[in-house]
């Protein structure tokens, strides 16, 4: 790979100083004159009809300025449900946490007090929490038409994928392995709680909000409020993470806008941390039933999955269970049932369809390797994907190198051993798992203005949720323009000043918007040649709208993770003692911030493996642990040192050959840890998270 001038060298973020001095302004840091504060009242029941809402006492509280309920607001939040009408305030309420009312008042304490003065007469309804139970005859109906969420085409059947002939494949196998796995609801738990500020100037609406994509958010707010898009402006300067739960417009933005309209003053609507856990969304819980056929030499003949995903009562995500595609196999059948339940809503969390699916398939493949007396690394090298779904060639495929170089850095041969080896209460074990993630190409845009001082003002509609997107865009611009990084001034996060960008979801910013930056830079260079450098007040402007596509090829990032754990067989405690993450993300634009991405994804994945689960009380239908402590989010002390290995394949697509990175980082991590635990104790825990009680349970 040829080395470049600016791209590919470890570079501190261009806004790093702001981030360490408190000068970075997040939405919640803003205060507008005359601004009111808003709070939301939520259902305490998992399923209930609202008979009556009495606002008298709340309205009488001095300082209360506006109240919204279903009685006076029937605005539909279209991004909140891809299948049914989801209002901002629903009746019946369908999960404990569904919004009932929103109040704006002169300060947050008054708003909060007012929510407590609202009297709601609920008629409780039967509820169901488990997706398989929800599909049984006689289960409480959560949405009209039944609890199996329809497909995009409206069909009432599972989301299905098939190739080959599954029965033939199972028949041709020497051995058939069958097992099932579960994964829980996990909250995104980004550190910044939800907050939005809405301000009207006559008929123009400005919304300050921590969104992952200002462009989507902008068009969707306009759609839901039936406003002309040019009357809406969305601003997001700094934002405290999201990991997939802020790709669209959100209810809190719409509520803030409506309250501000109603009260005639700007409104800041804040969610509490508990509301964030309950009422935004988390990863969908799954139940996965697999059958895998294999020949005695380790060749796969069939993979079958029947899976259930609990989406909560509104369909906000795919509910997919992915991972099978990392294996080549002629006969595959996957049927997934996205199902309504009365739990918290589930949708995107980093690598949405994958980590739970990879946990399932990689646990089973590990068992198969052991049963066939094959080294798990060799088994994967033999069966790993060579063509996408055995059909499309990949634009580049570094998976084999990820496995080989990762194993070497990890010292696999030294650390891996027969299951449950060694004596004494502390047992060590090594495990690995692999993964892939689509590295899409698609529409985005960029504008560059060159002034007479030689500053290149780069306008991109990115928000930088923590991925260093601004810095990445600046590096790409500096490289293409052949100027020092300091000459690039990035303008971001404001729909009034930035062109369309895809938004930071699907790990697409570098590939999508990066392309547009390159094209705009090329255009600018052409103009400089033609017209010369701008003088005095003149400005040269270049713009690009790009929409590259792929034909007959698949473009993916690849990853292999290796974990070593120490299991205390008396206490059930697991400690991750070594971790190597090998990644093929094509060319790495900024190795420094890319390392942060990998380490962060791995940390989140270890949390998914060992700790995290939103627990529900079956009797009441209420969530029990809505917070960092209860959810046992990873801390400094839980986190091992993670070693990152880059496998930089040459990829002919994407800016300088860059492929996607942010999301693949979490994908094989829960599976790698689970497989290491099996290697340590010789027993398999099939339900995430692998907590002490489960370890002691399988050892008993």
């Amino acid at each position: 790979m040829t080395s470049l001038q600016t791209v590919g060298h470890p570079t501190s973020r261009i806004d790093a100083e702001k981030r360490v001095t408190g000068a970075a302004t997040y939405t919640g840091d803003l205060r507008l004159t005359g601004m009111l504060y808003a709070r939301v009242l939520r259902s305490p029941h998992p399923h209930a009809r609202i008979r009556h809402i009495d606002l008298a006492r709340a309205q009488a509280l001095p300082g209360v300025k506006a109240i919204l309920t279903r009685e006076n607001c029937d605005v539909i939040w279209a991004s909140g449900d891809m299948r049914n009408k989801r209002y901002l305030f629903n009746n019946p309420v369908r999960f404990a946490g569904d919004a009932v009312a929103a109040v704006a008042a002169i300060d947050r304490h008054t708003a909060e007090q007012a929510t407590r003065l609202i009297e709601v007469d609920f008629e409780t309804l039967p509820f169901v929490l488990d997706p398989e139970d929800a599909l049984q005859p006689g289960a409480p109906e959560i949405q009209p038409g039944g609890n199996l969420s329809p497909t995009a085409r409206g069909a009432r059947g599972p989301e299905t994928y098939r190739r080959g002939d599954i029965d033939q494949g199972l028949g041709a196998a020497d051995r058939v392995f069958e097992d099932h796995y579960t994964s829980p609801h996990i909250n995104n738990a980004q550190l910044e709680p939800r907050v939005a500020i809405a301000q009207w100037e006559a008929d123009r609406l400005t919304v300050f909000t921590p969104t992952q994509g200002i462009s989507n958010c902008h068009t969707e707010i306009a759609r839901d409020l039936e406003l002309p898009p040019e009357k809406v402006r969305v601003i997001c300067q700094f934002m405290g993470g999201g990991f997939g739960n802020k790709n669209q417009d959100h209810d809190f933005e719409l509520m803030a806008a409506l309250l501000a309209k109603s009260a005639g003053a700007p409104v800041k609507l804040e969610f509490t941390r508990k509301e964030d856990f309950l009422s935004v969304h988390g990863r969908w819980p799954t139940k996965q039933y697999y059958k895998v056929g294999v020949r005695n030499d380790g060749t796969l003949t069939a993979i079958q999955l029947r899976g259930y995903s609990g989406m909560g009562p509104y369909r906000k995500g795919t509910g997919g269970i992915a991972g099978i595609d990392i294996y080549q196999c002629p006969n595959v059948e996957r049927m997934v049932y996205p199902t309504y339940t009365n739990k918290a809503v589930a949708a995107n969390l980093r690598g949405p369809d994958y980590p739970q699916g990879v946990f399932g398939i990689e646990s089973l493949m590990d068992d198969i390797a052991y049963a066939l007396k094959m080294d798990p690394v060799e088994f994967r090298l033999k069966n790993m994907t060579r063509k996408f779904q055995d059909q499309l060639p990949y634009t580049s495929n570094g998976l084999e190198n990820c496995i080989r170089r990762g194993a070497e850095a990890f010292e696999w041969k030294k650390r891996w051993h027969a299951p449950n080896e060694g004596s004494g209460p502390l047992k060590r074990g090594a495990g690995m798992a692999m993964g892939s993630f689509a590295s899409a190409l698609g529409r985005s845009s960029a504008v560059i203005e060159l002034d007479s001082n030689g500053i290149y003002h780069l306008h991109v509609g990115v928000t930088d949720i923590g991925t260093a997107a601004k810095t990445t865009m600046a590096l790409i611009a500096a490289e293409e323009l052949g100027v020092p990084l300091e000459k690039i001034d990035v303008i971001w996060g404001d729909t009034a000043r930035c062109p369309y960008s895809v938004g930071e979801s699907g790990s697409r910013t570098t590939t999508h918007t990066g392309w547009a930056v390159i094209e705009a830079a090329k255009d600018l260079k052409r103009q400089i040649v033609e017209k010369g450098l701008p003088k005095a007040n003149a400005i040269l402007t270049a713009a690009a709208n790009t929409n590259p596509s792929l034909n007959g090829v698949a473009r993916f990032s690849f990853v292999a993770h290796f974990a070593e754990v120490e299991v205390d067989t008396e206490l059930g405690h697991v400690r991750v003692t070594k971790y190597v993450a090998a990644h093929d993300s094509g060319r790495v634009v900024n190795p420094l911030t890319a390392e942060s991405q990998v380490k962060g994804g791995v940390t989140m994945g270890i949390g998914m493996a060992l700790h995290e689960e939103l627990l529900y009380d079956r009797a009441s239908g209420l969530a029990l642990n809505t917070g960092y402590y209860g959810a046992r989010i990873m801390t400094h002390r839980d986190t091992p040192e993670v070693e990152v290995v880059w496998v930089q394949t040459e990829d002919p697509y994407g800016p300088y050959g860059a492929k996607t990175l942010g999301e693949p980082t979490i994908i094989p991590s829960p599976a790698a840890v689970a497989n290491a635990i099996y290697n340590a104790i010789g027993k398999r825990v099939k339900d995430l998270p692998i907590t002490r009680d489960k370890i002691l349970g399988v050892l008993a």
Binding site: C73, D203, G600, T603, R637
Partner: protein, 198 residues
């Protein structure tokens, strides 16, 4: 209250709707007329003395952020679980969401805004930049203040001591490796080099 349907909302866009949808029963009383107990306190924040009257229910972080404009300290949970609000009170790192402002009466408070001295960044801030500590940056002020408190009492910690000293500061972006590396680098215990293998 008048209805705000999508239809009337759109049609009524403009002053008319504002007037018709505001009326709530009774006139809201101005804040001063309310009966919430208040106390006059004196706070020294980053070397500056502030005398302010606070409502007894206000937390320290609310006063710092909403009334003194020091928004560097963040609220991640508002219930003592995440550490985003960490400040130093009389030199000790505390969760400012879990302290009432009145408790800080007469005390000295240091926030992230006070770390840089005369325009020069604290060694911790410099190391955080070099090692790419902050991702989204929302936990960063808290991480910095816990690290500052740690280095004040133990100028040369090892990695395990850093993790222990900062374990009350959650980073959901999961950048703990880089935070530990930053603190060790600032304390002169390790060089700040990314350990990437390419």
């Amino acid at each position: 209250m008048s209805r705000i349907s999508r239809r009337t909302f759109f049609e009524g866009t403009g002053a008319g709707l504002v007037a018709s949808s505001v009326p709530l029963r009774g006139q809201p009383a101005p804040p001063a007329a309310r009966t919430v107990p208040q106390t006059a306190i004196k706070l020294t924040v980053n070397g500056r003395v502030h005398r302010i009257t606070v409502e007894d229910r206000w937390t320290l972080v609310e006063v710092l952020r909403d009334y003194l404009g020091l928004t560097g300290s963040k609220i991640g949970c508002d219930r003592g679980e995440c550490g985003a609000c960490t400040v130093l009170v009389d030199g000790k790192n505390v969760y400012s969401c879990s302290q009432l402002a009145v408790w800080a009466d007469g005390r000295t408070v240091e926030t992230v805004e006070g770390l840089a001295q005369n325009g020069k960044l604290d060694p911790l801030q410099q190391a955080f930049i070099r090692c790419d500590g902050p991702q989204c940056g929302f936990c960063t002020s808290g991480q910095l203040m816990s690290a500052r408190a740690l280095l004040n009492r133990n100028p040369h910690p090892n990695a395990e001591e850093v993790r222990a000293g900062m374990t009350g500061n959650i980073c959901r972006c999961g950048n703990y490796n880089h935070y530990v590396e930053s603190v060790l680098a600032a304390a002169g215990m390790r060089s700040a080099q990314p350990r990437t293998k390419a």
